[in-house]
């Protein structure tokens, strides 16, 4: 077990280094931050001077090495756009993204499992078919389109929910939370649905197919024969055995919830890290992009690692 964890951690570090290298190689193609930083009346001399000062005249490998060296000391540089330390900006934006991801994760998981079980038990029922058909829509519509549709329906036409932003937030220590105010909670509804919809349908379909599989097994038949109530059979015996793949998918999807919040955040002008990243791309704010990408890859790698370890913990057969 121990050597397994060590091996996986070493692999993870290698993955991180490669991701960073690829990211830095690509920054050259995103464009040039210089014109955003200097005004219309800049001269070529100003351009060259600033380039040199920022180290942009050096090959990307050198830039990457410098970034790694500073990052190892906990210094992620200063944003070109805002002129503030990147670490401060990320810390400021993280609560918004994490709260959004958590709420939509809970939404996706709860509704996904409930609907999955429901559609599996009533597999030929009318409502189960309706839900299955609608879930196809959820899987196939792109996130930004769902977001825009929800905004137009609930904000513009019905005027029930705010169209953008986070509402009022309360500052607790270094954490700004929108979970304690009504306007903060209302502001969470549309973005969490938008962000969680795909995950919800995914989990629902997964739970459904696993349930159908499990329900055919002998032990379920025996459980019924023992006279156990239908509820006990479904939730204690059947559902529990569908959980291994669900845990994997949920774990991996938690990462995507945070990473793909970019689109949802941009549609709802949600002040999180994804929006920060989008703005950073437009401005070619290399320190922000680099720090964000590294953070996301650390997160993905960590989640994968945890899922792998959980696997072993949940399924005794994997312990060799």
């Amino acid at each position: 077990m121990f050597s397994f964890v060590i091996r996986r951690i070493l692999q993870a570090l290698l993955v991180l280094l490669v991701v960073g290298l690829v990211a830095f190689a690509m920054f050259n193609f995103i464009g040039d931050p210089i014109d955003n930083m200097l005004g219309q009346e800049r001269t070529q001399e100003d351009v060259d001077r600033l380039k040199e000062r920022l180290g942009l005249d050096q090959p990307f490998v050198v830039q990457y090495a410098k970034f790694l060296l500073a990052a190892a000391q906990g210094n992620f540089g200063v944003s070109y756009e805002q002129g503030r330390p990147v670490a401060d900006i990320l810390a400021e934006r993280a609560p918004a993204t994490l709260e959004l991801a958590a709420v939509s994760g809970v939404f996706a998981l709860t509704l996904g499992i409930v609907l999955g079980v429901f559609t599996a038990i009533r597999r030929d029922g009318f409502w189960a078919n309706v839900i299955m058909t609608l879930s196809l829509v959820g899987v196939s519509l792109p996130t930004f389109l769902i977001g825009i549709l929800l905004i137009y329906l609930f904000s513009v036409e019905l005027d029930w929910l705010p169209s953008f932003g986070r509402g009022d937030t309360v500052q607790i220590g270094g954490w700004s939370t929108g979970l304690l105010t009504t306007s903060g909670l209302t502001a969470l509804i549309l973005p969490s649905i938008t962000l969680g919809l795909y995950q919800m349908t995914l989990i629902m379909r997964l739970v459904r197919s696993e349930m159908l599989e499990v329900m055919r097994q002998d032990y379920i038949r025996f459980a019924r024969a023992r006279g156990l109530s239908e509820r006990t059979v479904t939730f204690r015996h059947a559902l529990k055995n569908t959980m291994v793949p669900v845990i994997t998918v949920t774990g991996l999807q938690l990462g995507s919830l945070i990473a793909f919040a970019i689109i949802t955040e941009s549609v709802f002008q949600w002040p999180g890290m994804g929006l920060l990243f989008i703005n950073a791309i437009q401005f070619v704010d290399i320190p922000v992009m680099a720090a964000y990408l590294m953070m996301i890859s650390v997160m993905f790698v960590a989640i994968n690692l945890i899922v792998d370890i959980l696997y072993v913990a949940v399924d005794p057969r994997l312990r060799t």
Partner: protein, 523 residues
């Protein structure tokens, strides 16, 4: 279905009217002002926003004319050795400090420092002399008739405040106190600043001028997704957005409670040529001479483009045709040269045949796709129109972050450019776009194609130092006649301004695209 119901129920349960009071204005734009330091960055989002907070010696009125602000009057010294400004007495900064000539001197030193983007504004200045507490002489190395016009965005900062907070120079790379805080003399104070998220302004009680507005609080939120901004306006979450995407303008207009305010911006959109390059860079006929060096070919391009069609279809009627590099609202617009080369595809073909290109040629057209309104669509239209006269453009559209480096590296045969003169004077585009590039004299720094005309180079310093308006205009007219007949650029149209507001907001839209809060009333 279930989800929709879920959302609806939660919405009802949580719905709470967070209706803002009538005098709070919430507005949204695409770009957050990246700093609160008025000398650090010379960009429209920063200067436009800070015009509400800081003031200069002069300011621009609703019609863009220059009017007294922190200076009550100004007059030339001697034969044009400089300008004497008489300062307004009794003006206070937001922190209560008094405004004096010291602050003007300090702001000159700060804004003209190498660390400041605004440095180029002071290229003509040789020195600033404080005569007494309320008189300042700004000396220029040559007579400079438009100097007072050119400093409307030069904002005065309190010297004591800057020293106390160690912000005597702007610091763009690491930021300092002035990056996040502001202390001006303007009608509004910055009371809350969250970079990239929102900025709140409140009226300054000690402002020297009579307030025309009735705002008690103003909040700016950057919303970069245009569809979200339109939704926010339609749903009443914001009171004003800039810009409204042209394709959404009709919808905003039709809806109850919102309307569109249209105008003409100071920005002229034009096509530029690679004049200097001996060969085309993107062509099937490699090795041959660059056809755009022939003025007949450039004229043919001008004749081939149907600007009216672009205006009607892509701009949905909201732009204005341009004949020169400035719009008619700018100082120095040449009435003598107001006629644009007419659309004449047959004439264009004839010219091409005469120049020896009867069978046409192919070349590369570079274009940004997120810089100007519908820029890529305009380039596609241009490509189509040029194809009709037999020359085939290979369009390469890219985000602006990649576009400027491409232009700087001369990777184009023809390109699209928009220019908004910072000084609102015709001299500005001539200096940046038409004179021969000269890094030392800081001339022609945006003349990517390298157009060069000895007479224009000769005329520019004369224009810059001519005090007499009629003589000056005659020189500008001559310059315009040259760049028009040489077809140095093909001016297309003046870009429209399209703002969306709620019906209860009354505001003034200025051609510089600045949203000036002191002219806003909420009913």
């Amino acid at each position: 279905m279930l989800m929709f119901r879920y959302a609806a129920i939660s919405a009802l349960a949580l719905a709470c009217a967070s209706a803002a009071t009538a005098e709070t204005i919430r507005w949204a734009g695409t770009t957050d002002p990246q700093t609160m330091d008025p000398h650090a960055v010379n960009s429209a989002p920063v200067l436009g926003f800070l015009n509400n907070v800081f003031e200069g010696l002069v300011r621009r009125g609703k019609d863009m004319s220059v009017e007294p602000a922190l200076a009550t009057s100004w007059e030339p010294i001697g034969d044009g050795e400089g300008w004497r400004f008489t300062l307004r007495e009794g003006v206070k900064f937001h922190d209560g400090a008094e405004f004096t000539a010291e602050d003007v001197l300090f702001s000159y030193q700060r804004a003209s420092d190498e660390a400041s983007d605004t440095r180029s504004w002071f290229a003509p200045v040789s020195g600033v002399n404080v005569i007494d507490d309320f008189t300042v002489d700004i000396m220029t190395s040559a007579p400079n008739p438009i100097f007072p016009d050119s400093i409307a965005n030069w904002m005065i900062m309190d010297s004591g405040w800057a020293e106390t907070n160690s912000a005597t120079l702007p610091d763009k790379e690491n930021g300092n106190y002035a990056t996040l805080n502001a202390n001006g003399t303007g009608a509004f104070m910055v009371t809350d600043r969250q970079p990239g998220l929102s900025t709140t302004l409140t009226p300054f009680g000690g402002w020297w001028d009579e307030a025309e507005h009735n705002i008690t609080e103003a909040t700016f939120t950057p919303i970069d997704n245009p569809a979200t901004a339109v939704a926010a306006l339609l749903s009443g979450d914001v009171d004003m957005i800039n810009p409204v995407p042209i394709q959404d303008a009709a919808r905003v207009d039709q809806r109850d409670g919102t309307k569109v305010i249209r105008g003409i911006e100071a920005r002229v959109i034009m096509l530029g040529f690679g004049h200097e390059a001996d060969q085309l860079k993107y062509t099937a006929m490699a090795g041959e001479k660059n056809p755009f060096q022939d003025v007949r070919v450039r004229e043919a391009v001008a004749k081939a483009i149907n600007v009216d069609a672009i205006r009607q279809t892509i701009m949905r009627g909201s732009a204005e045709e341009a004949s020169q590099l400035v719009s008619p609202a700018m100082r120095g617009y040449s009435d003598a040269n107001a006629a644009r080369t007419a659309y004449d595809p047959e004439g264009a073909k004839a010219l091409l045949a005469e120049a020896g290109y009867a069978d046409g040629f192919s070349f590369g057209l570079k274009c940004p796709n997120n810089r100007y309104l519908n820029d890529e669509a305009v380039c596609q239209a241009v490509t189509g129109m040029l194809a009709q006269v037999g020359i085939s453009a290979e369009l390469d559209a890219m985000p602006v972050q990649n576009y400027w480096p491409e232009l700087r590296a001369d990777n184009f045969d023809m390109y699209l450019l928009g220019w908004s003169p910072g000084t609102f004077d015709h001299e500005h585009p001539v200096r940046f776009l038409v004179t021969t590039p000269n890094a030392e004299k800081k001339l022609g720094s945006w003349n990517f194609g390298g157009f060069s005309n000895a007479r224009v180079d000769e005329l520019l310093p004369m224009v810059q130092s001519e005090i007499d308006d009629t003589k000056r205009q005659a020189m500008i007219d001559e310059t315009v006649a040259i760049y028009q007949s040489e077809h140095a650029y093909v001016p297309l149209y003046v870009q429209p301004l399209v703002w969306g507001v709620r019906d209860n907001v009354e505001l003034t839209q200025r051609p510089d695209n600045f949203f000036i809060l002191r002219w806003v009333t909420m009913n």
